[in-house]
């Protein structure tokens, strides 16, 4: 088999083989300066993992562990305060109303493994709490994860509140979670700007939003 390096990296992540994944990352970093390894190695492997989860080929547990390992390894070479991470619009992630936070954790890991830094607002937040924090902290990209349908519908309230508290300049609102997967029109119904079907899609959507805001 002549795997591409990112395919080897993907295999190592899914096998929870930290040693092999770290070795592949090190080799790639020696080949080129800067953070090009994120584009050439990490992003394609996480995209493929996301796509394989969506088709049922791999499980949520595998996605979770792969994301955690990737996040740990990238943290070793790109620490949280690295200028390469902080030179981005302010972004945050939260679970609206629900108390189930695994989806948020998976997206957070994928974004951090892809070189983004974001604030974790936690879970169980109301739309009012969340709009207030967005305003106070100047968030420009907001990711919302939900598990339950009522919480997904509450995104519509959040959208309205953000329009008010952010003086007509609300952050880009990216949503994800089970209700949105089971009803492809739901994210539009609640006024979100975009919906990520998996963590890798969330990364792509954040990348687009960052480019737009430059």
């Amino acid at each position: 088999m002549n795997n591409e390096p990112w395919q080897d990296f993907e295999e190592a992540l899914l096998a929870m083989d930290r040693v092999r994944a770290r070795g592949l990352l090190r080799t790639k970093r020696l080949e080129a300066a800067g953070v090009s390894f994120l584009e050439s190695l990490v992003s394609p492997s996480l995209e493929q993992i996301g796509a394989r989860w969506e088709t049922g080929e791999i499980s949520l547990a595998q996605v979770y562990m792969a994301g955690r390992i990737a996040e740990e390894l990238i943290d070793e070479c790109l620490p949280p305060m690295s200028p390469l991470r902080t030179d981005q619009p302010k972004m945050a992630i939260a679970v609206l109303e629900d108390y189930h936070a695994l989806g948020k954790r998976i997206v957070l890991s994928a974004l951090r493994a892809s070189g983004y830094e974001l604030t974790d607002f936690g879970h169980g937040l109301t739309a009012v709490d969340l709009a207030h924090r967005v305003k106070v902290e100047g968030v420009r990209i907001l990711l919302i994860s939900v598990l339950m349908l009522p919480s997904a519908l509450r995104v519509a309230d959040l959208r309205k509140l953000l329009g008010v508290v952010c003086d007509g300049h609300p952050p880009r609102l990216i949503v994800g979670g089970a209700p949105f997967l089971f009803d492809s029109r739901l994210w539009r119904d609640v006024g979100a700007d975009a919906m990520g079907r998996n963590a890798a899609e969330a990364v792509s959507l954040v990348k687009e939003a960052v480019e737009e805001q430059k």
């Binding site: 929870m16 049922g56 791999i58 499980s59 949520l60 547990a61 595998q62 979770y64 562990m65 109303e97 629900d98 108390y99 189930h100 936070a101 695994l102 954790r105 169980g124 339950m148 349908l149 009522p150 919480s151 519908l153 089970a178 209700p179 089971f182 009803d183 029109r185 739901l186």
Partner: protein, 351 residues
């Protein structure tokens, strides 16, 4: 055409992989009962009499083939001393997990059903339903020992436990198994006809099949034989296809299936081994028109109805609060229209 079987006969026939008078259908309406009685959810679930009354009224209106003994999932967490967060328009959540220290696992003791007020009310609801309508199947629900830790300790911590702490994991399974068996059997003693063994973590959406075979499968094989009545395993809209044969080997009679998988393919794979329960999309139901409901019911019956072994239901095991009563009526009407065996219309050429 009128029904010629009782709901119980119809359901048992379907579970036996035979064709009944029509395709049986379950409307898993737990939250709608509060609306039926015009009271907030928390008040509604505080008394078994409320739930029994609402279940009987809703069954009478829609004509579905079961009564639902299920209150809400975190009721089992109340049994362990955990807290529940209530919402006006959706199922309660379990709050901050009570099991944050793995060192606490060896000291855990299974709760006693009779000491948990909400579960005593649930048993009362089942008894009342059985008394007032003895010919209707009553479905009790028990969260599987393998899936309960998502609420006991949080999903992330639980995945780490499964993957990295096998000794503590199996200790927790032992105590959860005792709890699950006692809660399931209490419901059967109160009058439940069958138990839905709610096991979403076993779904291939959540854990990979090889890991399931070493964990959730083993737990189910130890637990289900100790439950003194028929069981069906529900994966709460997770995927089942890769583990269908394993599920059948646990001794369960049926499986709740997801709209994420093709119903016809599931039917072929499960034929003669497992009855299928599903797979209407409960989230989309919120905006279905009457025509949508009819089409969805018709398509599901066309894919899985022939030969029995199929009970039409939503794919999650709980129809969301946001689904209007008109849609429920449309589903019920469509089953009456398109669900009559021998389902000859399926083979008729489309003009």
């Amino acid at each position: 055409m009128n029904d010629t079987m009782t709901p119980l006969q119809r359901v048992l026939t379907a579970l036996g992989h035979q064709e009944a008078d029509r395709v049986p259908f379950f409307l898993f309406l737990s939250l709608h009962g509060a609306r039926e009685l015009g009271m907030p959810l928390r008040q509604y679930f505080s008394r078994g009499e409320n739930v029994a009354e609402a279940q009987l009224r809703m069954q009478s209106r829609y004509g579905h083939d079961c009564l639902n003994g299920f209150f809400y999932a975190p009721a089992e967490i109340e049994a362990w001393g955990g807290e529940v967060v209530w919402f006006e328009d959706g199922p309660p959540n379990s709050a901050t997990p009570f099991l944050s220290d793995l060192k606490a696992i060896p000291g855990l003791k299974p709760p006693r059903v009779e000491e948990v007020p909400v579960l005593v009310e649930a048993l009362k609801a089942i008894s009342l339903m059985k008394e007032r309508s003895p010919l209707l199947p009553i479905i009790g629900v028990a969260i599987s020992p393998f899936s309960l830790p998502v609420m006991q300790m949080g999903f992330e911590a639980y995945l780490q436990l499964i993957l990295e702490q096998p000794e503590a994991f199996w200790q927790l399974m032992r105590v959860n198994e005792e709890w699950c068996v006692s809660w399931a059997n209490a419901q059967l003693s109160a009058g439940a006809t069958a138990i839905a063994y709610f096991d979403p973590v076993s779904s291939s959406t959540v854990i990979q099949p090889d890991l399931y075979r070493k964990t959730g499968f083993v737990v189910a094989c130890r637990t289900l034989p100790r439950i003194h009545g028929p069981t069906a395993t529900h994966l709460a809209s997770g995927r089942a296809l890769p583990i269908l044969d394993d599920l059948a080997a646990t001794g369960t009679a049926g499986v709740g299936i997801s709209v994420l998988e093709d119903l016809a393919e599931l039917k072929r794979a499960a034929s003669g081994k497992l009855a299928l329960l599903g797979n209407l999309n409960g989230i989309q139901m919120r905006h279905w028109t009457t025509a949508d409901a009819e089409l969805e019911v018709k398509q599901a019956i066309a894919k899985a109805g022939k030969g029995g072994g199929f009970i039409l239901a939503d794919n999650h095991g709980e129809i969301p609060w946001q689904v209007p009563e008109e849609t429920l009526s449309a589903i019920a009407d469509a089953v009456q229209r398109w669900g009559r065996y021998p389902l000859d219309w399926i083979d008729e050429p489309v003009i």
